[in-house]
């Protein structure tokens, strides 16, 4: 058959990846419809995208990209250097509504040297530029179609947008004029099933061919046991952490934070909330990254020690705090378990379930919380610990200096060293409770090949997907 139906949990609000944070947008359009100068591969590596190749000046300040020839947008217009300039300038502009505008910080200018060449000039060297340009928020869009991009996205990808039945599904179809290796599938449908039961039922009833980001890990054994299905377990960039409001007493006392760290039984949480899927982490770093250091020992489960630490901090009788939980089940279920575990050492955490909008307003922006659980899914985001105004309010000048150095460093080995140092610093400062790396769980019918197992970024890249013969 020439088509598939892939289900995902959330429906994108619209289809412009450059003006919203919703991951569902990237899931649908990344690489399928829109492409950037560089792109992520399923294993997390960054490879050339619309840019065939590039040259970096010795001072690291000028990047010159050569674009692929003969690339056209789905509406037939040619993709050239002017489009790249338009796209990047739009994202960096004063009135830009790009959710990841910080990706473009430090870009001084973007110029079209000739139709096939673009030059980006930086204010200071940035080792992450190629990585940053691979994000969905940095894809190349066409100025002609920018007005209607939200409902009728026009990109350069191997698929083009066909139809959107709001609340139900989005259809895309093969782009016959694709510049690169064409897609195998003739068409594909993204179906939105938010309810976990419904997800299970739909998969079981074979209403859908695959489910990316399956929301109910407890159902996976049933799929594994069923010869009709295959289960894809990979990793994401999501460090799931128990964030602690470092400025709020008593959490401003490192002993209290350490006590919390030792009160948490990671394995129980992974088993109870994720039914065993997920890798324990001891710091804010993805375990599949070569630079990862296993620091789980630093915050091993030890309730006795935890109580002792609390006593040392003058809180032998425990204390009360709040635990804000956003909607995903890792947070809601994990939160219930953590509240129970904290109760064991005398910390009474009142569970407050919130929706994302509320979480953003009161927790993230208002910093009005004690504890919260959230999965930080942005790749390589340890840099957030260098921002004292970030919601968990960790303010350590040493760490900030370390990050500064890292940003200026391009030598891979030195970078690894610095990264490992950074991981250790936050782990030993017990900034947050580090729980586990969120697993990427997918279910597909047997015979479906080429789906990403890991999720280095939110994407359901269908360009290489096919049915086995």
């Amino acid at each position: 058959e020439g088509g598939i139906t892939v289900a995902m949990q959330l429906e994108p609000p619209h289809l412009d990846p450059t003006s919203a944070a919703a991951q569902a947008i990237d899931s649908v359009v990344y690489s399928n419809i829109f492409e950037g100068l560089t792109r992520f591969m399923g294993d997390g590596s960054v490879v050339p995208g619309l840019a065939e190749s590039w040259e970096i000046s010795d001072d690291g300040l000028t990047y010159t990209f050569s674009l692929h020839e003969g690339v056209t947008f789905h509406d037939g217009t040619a993709m050239d250097a002017e489009d790249v300039v338009f796209s990047l300038d739009r994202a960096r502009a004063e009135d830009s509504v790009n959710a990841q505008k910080a990706l473009f910080d430090g870009i001084e200018s973007v110029e079209a040297v000739d139709p096939a060449t673009v030059r980006i000039t930086l204010a200071e060297p940035n080792g992450n530029l190629l990585f940053n340009l691979a994000w969905g928020d940095a894809v190349i869009v066409a100025p002609e179609s920018i007005e209607t991009i939200k409902t009728n996205p026009v990109g350069t990808g191997a698929f083009r947008f066909a139809n959107w039945v709001q609340g139900d599904r989005i259809d895309i179809e093969k782009n016959p004029d694709y510049w690169g290796t064409p897609a195998v599938l003739d068409k594909a449908t993204f179906k939105f099933i938010s309810d976990p039961t419904a997800a299970f039922a739909a998969m079981m009833a074979e209403d859908i061919d695959a489910f990316a980001g399956f929301p109910a890990p407890e159902n996976l054994p049933q799929f594994e046991a069923d010869p009709r299905f295959q289960v894809l377990v990979g990793s994401t960039e999501g460090e799931t952490i128990l964030s602690i409001n470092n400025k709020q007493p008593p959490f401003d006392d490192i002993k209290v934070r350490e006590a919390i760290a030792h009160a948490i039984d990671r394995q129980a949480i992974i088993d109870g909330a994720m039914f065993g899927y997920g890798t324990p982490i001891g710091t804010h770093f993805a375990p599949h990254n070569p630079a990862y250091v296993d620091l789980t020992g630093t915050s091993a489960y030890d309730p006795e020690k935890s109580k002792a630490l609390l006593a040392e901090a003058g809180l032998a009788d425990g204390f009360e705090t709040t635990l804000h939980l956003p909607p995903p089940s890792y947070a809601r279920r994990g939160g219930e378990i953590i509240a129970a575990q904290l109760a064991e050492v005398g910390i009474k955490a009142e569970i407050i379930n919130v929706e994302w909008a509320q979480w953003l307003e009161s927790v993230f922006r208002g910093k009005n919380f004690g504890l919260t659980i959230v999965s930080h899914t942005e790749p390589m985001d340890i840099g957030i610990y260098a921002r004292p105004d970030y919601y968990f309010q960790y303010d350590n000048p040493d760490f900030q200096a370390l990050m500064d150095t890292l940003n200026r460093t391009t030598d891979p080995d030195k970078r690894t060293g610095l990264l490992q140092q950074a991981q250790t610093v936050i782990a030993e400062d017990f900034v947050n409770g580090y729980l586990f790396q969120l697993a990427n769980l997918g279910v597909a019918k047997v015979g479906l090949e080429g789906l990403w197992a890991n999720a280095p970024t939110a994407a359901i890249d269908l360009t290489a997907v096919s049915w086995a013969q």
């Binding site: 944070a21 409902t151 009833a205």
Partner: protein, 315 residues
């Protein structure tokens, strides 16, 4: 009749005006900002501000209220914050699912309830009545979402007679659409049918005790004939009220069922919009639902007059 209709119309307009005020300001109190929600955690404050002004969220509340109200009067429900499409289009799309679902469920529940209620009333106190009443007691007590879960388990997952949910759209044929709505309609209809059957029965029993039923029997009508010719239509008045209430409930109250069967209906639109703080969608849809309820009640009142000539005269 005209006077009556005009008076009802006036109170309808006042109700709507009050409702719009309540809805707008209650919803606007909700914590959470659509712009922040859309831009996520890495967004910079100036980006959020830019989006807020792009969405028109930076004007004072009362002015937004007036704009919204004025827009609605001209059929313009505004533009969704998150989807950036006209709310009216979104609503139109969702109504295509919710309305047929409500009607389907209502048809099912009426088709079940009428015979059951009439049967039980005619057989009052006898085993047939007790069986029907027992069944309705159970029907009233079953939470519809639980029933839906069980239906999915049995008919979608085990027997695979129906899809587990979703809606193919009417483009794929009326039959496919109805097929997809069958399980949701059943799970909505059953508890409603139980209530309706009970109302039908008790209302009919009341009527059976009326003097004119005795008159009818004295004319030579058999019990059955009397029941059908004189009982049912008179019993319809309270039943109509319930049907009206149920219709409005089905239109808006299907939220949970829409969730279970992931149907793109109005209820789920509200739910999604609440969580994404797409306030204008919430406001408009809730307003529309209130409007629908009020209009349905109005129609039910008019239907009374058709059923009951006494009301025709009084009005």
């Amino acid at each position: 009749m005209l006077r009556y209709s005009l008076k009802r119309l006036l109170s309808l307009v006042i109700s709507l005006a009050v409702a719009s005020l309540v809805i707008f300001f209650v919803i606007e109190v909700a914590p959470g900002d659509p712009a922040s929600f859309m831009l996520g955690i890495n967004a910079q404050p100036d980006t959020v501000a830019a989006l807020r002004s792009e969405l028109g969220l930076d004007v004072p509340k009362w002015q937004r209220y007036l704009d919204w109200l004025g827009g609605m009067l001209t059929g313009d429900f505004g533009t969704s914050y998150t989807y950036r499409t006209p709310v009216s289009d979104m609503v139109a799309e969702r109504v295509k699912v919710s309305l047929p679902l409500a009607l389907y469920a209502l048809t099912l529940s009426t088709a079940l309830a009428f015979p059951a209620g009439i049967y039980a009333a005619a057989r009052r106190g006898r085993p047939g009545d007790m069986a029907v009443m027992g069944a309705t007691q159970l029907g009233v007590a079953i939470p519809n979402f639980w029933f839906a879960m069980m239906l999915v388990l049995v008919f979608a997952i085990n027997l695979r007679w129906f899809g587990a949910g979703g809606f193919p759209g009417w483009d794929n044929g009326v039959w496919a659409g109805l097929h997809a709505l069958t399980l949701p309609a059943i799970s909505l209809a059953l508890p409603q049918a139980a209530i309706l059957a009970r109302v039908m029965r008790s209302s009919l029993i009341d009527i059976l005790g009326e003097d004119f039923m005795r008159t009818a029997r004295a004319k030579g009508l058999s019990r059955r004939q009397a029941l059908w010719r004189h009982g049912v239509r008179n019993a319809l008045i309270p039943v109509l009220t319930i049907i009206g209430l149920q219709f409005s409930f089905l239109l808006a109250g299907a939220i949970i069922i829409e969730q279970v069967f992931y149907l793109p209906g109005l209820g789920r639109l509200v739910f999604q919009s609440i969580s994404s703080r797409d306030l204008i969608v919430v406001e408009s849809v809730v307003m529309l639902l209130v409007f629908a309820v009020i209009v349905v009640n109005f129609l039910v009142d008019l239907a009374y007059a058709v059923v009951d000539p006494r009301l025709r005269a009084r009005t």
